[in-house]
Structures are given as structure tokens and as C-alpha cells.
């Protein structure tokens, strides 16, 4: 599987697949610039799912109306560009009133050990970061709740 195919699968999984149990991403953009950083894919949505009747009512009564985003960047990342990516994601969250976001870094070769260490240390409340190595099909996320939640949903190999 190459990165392009992975992006298509991830997009589907986030919009109509398993990620709908967490949040409903309704719109997806490709190749979008955010604060000078080009993201291969950007999805936006909210935690209020639509549903038909009962699920809509339950969602309205029980779920917080949080705005959510998923930003996906492809290609090689070093520690400097990781910081730039996270700054851009933070800027996007502030500009669009996003309450929490998933940041996915997808690549078809193993990630730099420095980047892996940096992600492992992260523990932000509002943003989860995942490193996806498409060639070896490994996913590494940060320790935050948001990060741990995304692990199963970015793992879309089938």
C-alpha cells in the first residue's frame, strides 16, 4: 500500500467508518495550506452525530458539541518540521474554534528516532499525534487520551 491509497482509506474510515463512534467528520479537503504548512488532508466535523431520531436525540442530550479536526501530513518529518506541523495545527484549532484535533503524520519509510521520541513524550489535552509508517504498517501515538483514542481509527490497512 502506498501513501495515496492509505489516505483514501483513512478518509473513508474517518468519514463513514469506525471513527464515527468518536466523532463525525463531515468534510474533507486535500492539499490545504494551514499557517504555511501544507497538509495532504484536512477533515473537520463535530461530536454531535446526526443519526435518524433516537441517536440524534441522544447525541443532542448527551454529547458535548465539540468541533473536531483531523490534519494529515505526508512525507518525511524531522523534529523541526514536527514542531511546525503542531504549530500549524494549533493555529488551525484557534482560528476555527476546534476543541480537539488528531494530527496524523504518514510516511512510507520508518520515522526518525528523534521524532518518535518527541511524539512519545507528548501529552497535550487537545491534540493527539500519530506516526503512521505505511510500509511496515505500524502506528505510534502520543500518550494523551485523544492520541490513544485515535490509534484504532488510523489503523486502516484493510
Amino acid at each position: 500500500m502506498d501513501v495515496g491509497e492509505y489516505l483514501n482509506r483513512l478518509e473513508k474510515n474517518l468519514m463513514i467508518g469506525s471513527a464515527r463512534w468518536v466523532t463525525e467528520f463531515v468534510e474533507s479537503f486535500r492539499e490545504l495550506d494551514v499557517a504555511g504548512v501544507r497538509f495532504a488532508m484536512l477533515l473537520r466535523g463535530s461530536m454531535r452525530t446526526k443519526g435518524l431520531l433516537l441517536s440524534r436525540l441522544f447525541s443532542y442530550l448527551a454529547m458535548p458539541n465539540y468541533r473536531t479536526s483531523c490534519l494529515v501530513r505526508c512525507g518525511g518529518v524531522d523534529e523541526r518540521s514536527l514542531r511546525a506541523t503542531l504549530r500549524a495545527a494549533d493555529r488551525h484549532m484557534r482560528d476555527h474554534g476546534v476543541d480537539w484535533a488528531w494530527v496524523v503524520l504518514a510516511h512510507d519509510v520508518p520515522f526518525d528516532p528523534g521524532v518518535v521520541r518527541a511524539v512519545e513524550k507528548m501529552n497535550a489535552r487537545e491534540a493527539g499525534v500519530a506516526l503512521v509508517d505505511v510500509s511496515s504498517r505500524t502506528v505510534l501515538t502520543d500518550l494523551s487520551l485523544v492520541g490513544r483514542k485515535m490509534r484504532d481509527h488510523v489503523r486502516c490497512w484493510r
Binding site: N8, I16, F25, V26, E27, S28, E31, L32
Partner: protein, 159 residues
């Protein structure tokens, strides 16, 4: 120019039911006024169904039927009797939107703030939304790059 059109069964059914309802109401009113009673019989029911089907075809074609035509320059969307045209150069972002029940549409944004948009109902027309989005994105990027290149050519000093 590429073209996509598809019979929307859901809307055909909707048009048929609407026509059937209107004809039935009309017949009830006419029948009460003329005969003083509501006349019901097999020939009348068959006539009602046939008339409803004929009217539904016209109603569907004039209101719901959608045809999308597009090329590298722009697109033309015909919905019923209304026609909407656009050039890819007028848009700056392309989004894929999930409108519910696994149905997707493509949104074209006129501004960078992603507010002013136009929706193309690609899934209803039988087009693969993801590949259409990729195609349109390439067209929008190319169309927006052309004026910039032309402007930079004009600005460059002549030797």
C-alpha cells in the same frame, strides 16, 4: 466535455406520489361538486395512476433531474429547468462532504475562509466522489496557476 446523468428513483417516486395525491384530491373535489358524491371505480383508479405517472415524468424532468457536464475549464449543472455554470478558476478550495447515509457530494469554495460554497451532488449522478474530487482539485489548482503565470510573464522585463 464529460457528462453524467442518472435517473433518481427516489425523486421519481416522490414526484409520482405527489401527482397521485394531487389528482386524487382534485378528483374528490370535482366529483363532489359535479355529482354530489365521490365516484370510485376500477377505470378511474387506473386512469388516475396513468395520469399521475405521465405528470410525474414531466414534473421530475422539470424539477429534479440533474445533469452535470464538465471539462478542464469549468462545469455546467442542470437541475430541472435551472442551469448553473461555473469556471474552476473562480474557486479556491475543493471539499468532499458526507451528506448522510454514506452519500457524498463535492463542495467548491469561493473564499479561503471556506464559507461561500457551491455543492455538486456527484454521488447522486453516479460519479465516484473521491476520484471526481481529485480531478476537480487538479483543475482548480491548474486554473488558478494560469493567471499567476500570465501575470508574472507580464511583469518580467523584456530583453
Amino acid at each position: 466535455m464529460k457528462r453524467a446523468a442518472r435517473l433518481q428513483v427516489e425523486n421519481v417516486l416522490r414526484a409520482f406520489l405527489l401527482m397521485l395525491f394531487l389528482l386524487t384530491v382534485a378528483w374528490v373535489v370535482v366529483s363532489l361538486l359535479v355529482f354530489g358524491d365521490i365516484l370510485v371505480g376500477q377505470p378511474l383508479v387506473i386512469l388516475n395512476l396513468v395520469l399521475a405517472a405521465v405528470l410525474a415524468v414531466f414534473f421530475y424532468r422539470s424539477r429534479y433531474h440533474e445533469v452535470l457536464e464538465w471539462d478542464d475549464e469549468g462545469f455546467r449543472l442542470r437541475r430541472g429547468t435551472k442551469t448553473m455554470t461555473g469556471r474552476w478558476a473562480d474557486f479556491c478550495a475543493v471539499g468532499l462532504i458526507h451528506v448522510g447515509r454514506g452519500v457524498f457530494a463535492v463542495r467548491l469554495y469561493r473564499d479561503q475562509e471556506l464559507r461561500d460554497c457551491l455543492e455538486l451532488p456527484v454521488a447522486r449522478l453516479g460519479i465516484n466522489p473521491q476520484s471526481f474530487r481529485d480531478q476537480v482539485t487538479a483543475c482548480v489548482v491548474a486554473a488558478r496557476a494560469e493567471p499567476r503565470e500570465a501575470a508574472s510573464d507580464e511583469q518580467s522585463p523584456e530583453t
